[in-house]
């Protein structure tokens, strides 16, 4: 989104609202909701209800509202502090991008619905009747289907068994439903599904458009980030991730040749380290070897020997090429979302969601498998460049993040912080793993992948935000061709200082990064359980936090978490100024 907020005054509203609500996130949501003069006739749910029953409808709505609120209030404040628009834009998109549509929907429901459906009517009916039709599926924010599923099987397998609110709750335009209370549940479900499909296709079309620009050769990566922050359709995810993380070139004419070269690089690397000339680093090899069977042990995909060998090659090559860090446990987790995502590229649409069950040798050639490996390898490399400090000796990046998390919680939720102090609960005792594995151990794989849509949107510098520079190594911008970025591509040797020097002051007054954002996500995650935790002693706290009830989280919950993290990042910018 090229247009930046023009208001420069600092709006106190979100902070005030926050203070009133005193750290309970649902109340925060509630108060923001209450503060809105929404023209929508949206059914109101109390904040308490949100918190108590985890009503997805209400959560999603809150999410939507908050995004709006942020747009009107938060963005002004943020901008005043020099915040990048990279954060704002995704949320702004959900309000302004779809806002007019929602408004239409609510103002005259039935009439608009007909009109709306008329456009795509043929398309969607075709889709739901032909389960094998290659219609892209989506698992993302705007649409909120849980977990990435194909249209066909969602309908046939999970659609019926799931309650409407768990299944398709997230279209804001569906939440009004006063009028549809009178309809049968079947009708409602149908309607939801239809709307979900329409919204999905709308979104898919947006990604199509951005990935295949009609004029020029450049993919607008900042626009892509803005869009991807809210989730990427499964069908687009491989290409989008490659771009977001700076592995693929934004220049579509060069894309395939560069990709080819990188994939060949990987093959050469593998050939070298597995040749006789290479003296195997036995401790590293052994460590990887014993970790591979312990990687996602509950997901069938990772039990296939073919896949295990694949991961072993990727991890070993990475370790050999990065001696300062070497292989560290947890990196084995981090490679899997890439691997799984790139595999989906070779599956027919109807089977993409089963990527975690099908052995790749049933649909991949040896060469294709190496391409998947290569892409995973390079994306892992890019990701780890952003968080190098997490894995070098002494793991200073993690220690710093844990410390920052503590300070943040002290400010956001001092009651919880004090309680922890009283019980001698130390943040390092539970948050170390959160940092080391980017919360991957806390969520199901499909939720992690959704989360990474947002994380990878956060990885890079763009014209108005720069990656966090806890150390120069973590400030590496990916090879992007953003509109305003100096030179388009950056060398790994660019230091943050140098990088800043090339920017105007307004653009660089704030730095942000994946690791900073991740700390806010962890804070939001922790504070979500604040009320429960305050009633727990040391043992209960540690036990709870080591097995939080989040493995069953759905996308609406993940997205609410990400939104909360984003809001806190905006509100507490000043708290992080010294993080650099």
């Amino acid at each position: 989104m090229g247009v930046r907020p023009t208001t420069t005054s600092t709006s106190p509203t979100p902070r005030e609202m926050y203070q009133k609500s005193n750290s309970s996130s649902p109340s925060l949501v509630g108060s923001i909701m209450r503060s809105l003069k929404s023209s929508h006739s949206i059914r109101r749910l109390s904040a308490g209800e949100d918190a108590e029953n985890g009503n997805h409808d209400s959560l999603q709505k809150s999410n939507y509202h908050r995004a709006r609120s942020l747009n009107s209030n938060g963005s002004a404040q943020s901008h005043g502090r020099g915040v990048s628009h990279i954060h704002l834009s995704p949320l702004r998109k959900s309000s302004s991008g779809n806002g007019s549509f929602h408004k239409d929907k609510h103002s005259s429901h039935s009439q608009k619905r007909d009109k709306y459906f008329a456009d795509l009517d043929e398309d969607w009916s075709a889709v739901i009747e032909d389960y094998n039709m290659p219609i892209p599926m989506i698992s993302n924010g705007g649409v909120e289907l849980r977990p990435p599923v194909t249209v066909g099987s969602r309908r046939s397998e999970t659609g019926e068994s799931r309650s409407p609110s768990a299944g398709y709750p997230n279209l804001p335009q569906l939440n009004k439903s006063r009028s549809s209370d009178l309809k049968s549940q079947y009708e409602q479900e149908n309607e939801r599904e239809v709307q979900a499909l329409n919204s999905l296709m709308h979104r898919v079309a947006k990604f199509d458009a951005i990935l295949n620009p009609t004029h020029g050769n450049q993919v607008n990566v900042s626009e892509l980030r803005r869009l991807s922050w809210n989730g990427v359709p499964m069908v687009h995810r491989p290409s989008v991730w490659r771009l977001l993380i700076g592995y693929a070139s934004a220049n579509i004419k060069r894309q395939s040749s560069l990709l080819q070269r990188k994939r060949q690089d990987y093959r050469d690397g593998v050939e070298l380290v597995f040749s006789k000339d290479h003296t195997r680093d036995l401790p590293t090899w052994h460590q990887i070897e014993i970790d591979i069977p312990r990687t996602n042990p509950f997901i069938p995909l990772y039990q296939f020997p073919l896949v295990q060998e694949s991961l072993q090659r990727i991890l070993y090559l990475w370790a050999i090429r990065h001696p300062a860090s070497g292989y560290v446990q947890g990196i084995n987790d981090l490679v899997t979302p890439f691997y799984q995502t790139f595999l989906t590229e070779y599956l027919p649409p109807a089977q993409k969601e089963d990527v975690d069950k099908i052995c790749p040798d049933t649909y991949l050639s040896r060469e294709q498998l190496l391409d998947v490996e290569a892409d995973s390898f390079w994306c892992l490399t890019k990701l780890l460049e952003q968080i190098t400090d997490n894995y070098i000796h002494g793991q200073p990046g993690i220690l710093k993040q844990v410390k920052n998390l503590g300070q943040l919680v002290k400010r956001i939720d001092s009651d919880l912080y004090d309680h922890f102090s009283q019980e001698n609960v130390e943040f390092i005792q539970f948050a170390f793993r959160w940092m080391n594995c980017l919360l991957m151990r806390e969520f199901s794989m499909s939720m992690v992948i959704r989360m990474w849509d947002t994380y990878l949107s956060e990885t890079s510098l763009d014209s108005t935000s720069s990656a966090a520079a806890e150390a120069p190594s973590s400030s590496l911008p990916p090879d992007s061709s953003l509109q305003n970025s100096p030179g388009g591509a950056f060398r790994e040797t660019v230091t943050s200082a140098k990088f800043q020097g090339k920017h105007n002051a307004a653009a660089t007054s704030r730095q942000t990064s994946l690791s900073e954002f991740h700390v806010f996500v962890c804070a939001a995650f922790l504070i979500k359980f604040s009320e429960q935790l305050i009633g727990m002693d040391f043992q209960e706290t540690i036990t709870f936090l080591q097995n939080p009830p989040t493995k069953t989280w759905t996308e609406s919950e993940i997205e609410l978490l990400l939104s909360e993290a984003y809001i806190w990042q905006s509100l507490y910018k000043d708290a992080t100024s010294h993080w650099r």
Partner: protein, 208 residues
């Protein structure tokens, strides 16, 4: 000391990656075994109520740590306040056996225990269930090692086959309880000392 009221025994399990620390903990605490544990990152934590000598009840907090060397910088956060340290090796992995001593030293450096010479360790040689041909650490070598480290109790265990695990942890609990009581006594001594020092010091400061 508040811990006296509840009798909490903190036990920490150390050893190379993949020797079976997590499996031992789960076998002891919940009498379960799984092939599907993920590698431990940081430390995991389980508790178990234990009864010793018929009447002494305590809560054992078992900290299962990550074995990879890179995580050792974290040690201090988890080692502090431990009442007993369990050193685990894998009978099929000679390197893990050789590293027992360095794990002990590592612990003593970071745990800041009051009296390193008497701090209780227990050594477990795990994976006893595997076939004989794969075992590379002889019982004799293990006994020698245990002796050389100050007659440290040694148990050959199998978390998978549930061999000797309970016996070993009973010993661990006993050692931990002893250590915890010794620490408590030492604390009281320190407390008295502190008062004495203060009294002794007063005249000198007045004399200035």
């Amino acid at each position: 000391m508040s811990s006296r009221k509840k009798n909490i025994l903190k036990v920490i399990i150390l050893g190379d990656s993949g020797v079976g620390k997590t499996s031992l903990m789960h076998r002891y605490v919940s009498d379960k075994f799984s092939q599907q544990y993920k590698a431990t990152i940081g430390a995991d934590f389980l508790t178990k109520e234990v009864t010793m000598d018929g009447d002494k009840v305590a809560t054992m907090q078992v900290w299962d740590t990550a074995g990879q060397e890179r995580f050792q910088s974290l040690g201090v956060a988890f080692y502090r306040g431990a009442d007993c340290c369990v050193l685990v090796y894998d009978v099929t992995n000679a390197k893990s056996f050789e590293n027992i001593k360095s794990w002990r030293d590592e612990f003593l450096v970071h745990a800041n225990v009051s009296s390193p010479d008497t701090f209780p360790f227990v050594i477990l040689g795990n994976k006893l269930d595997v076939e004989e041909s794969k075992k590379v650490v002889s019982n004799r070598a293990a006994q020698d090692m245990a002796k050389s480290l100050g007659n440290v109790p040694l148990f050959l265990t199998s978390a998978k086959g549930s061999i000797n695990v309970d016996t070993a942890f009973e010993e661990i609990a006993r050692n931990a309880l002893q250590q915890s009581q010794a620490d408590a006594d030492a604390f009281e001594d320190d407390f008295n000392d502190a008062i004495n020092i203060q009294l002794d010091g007063e005249p000198s400061s007045c004399g200035c």
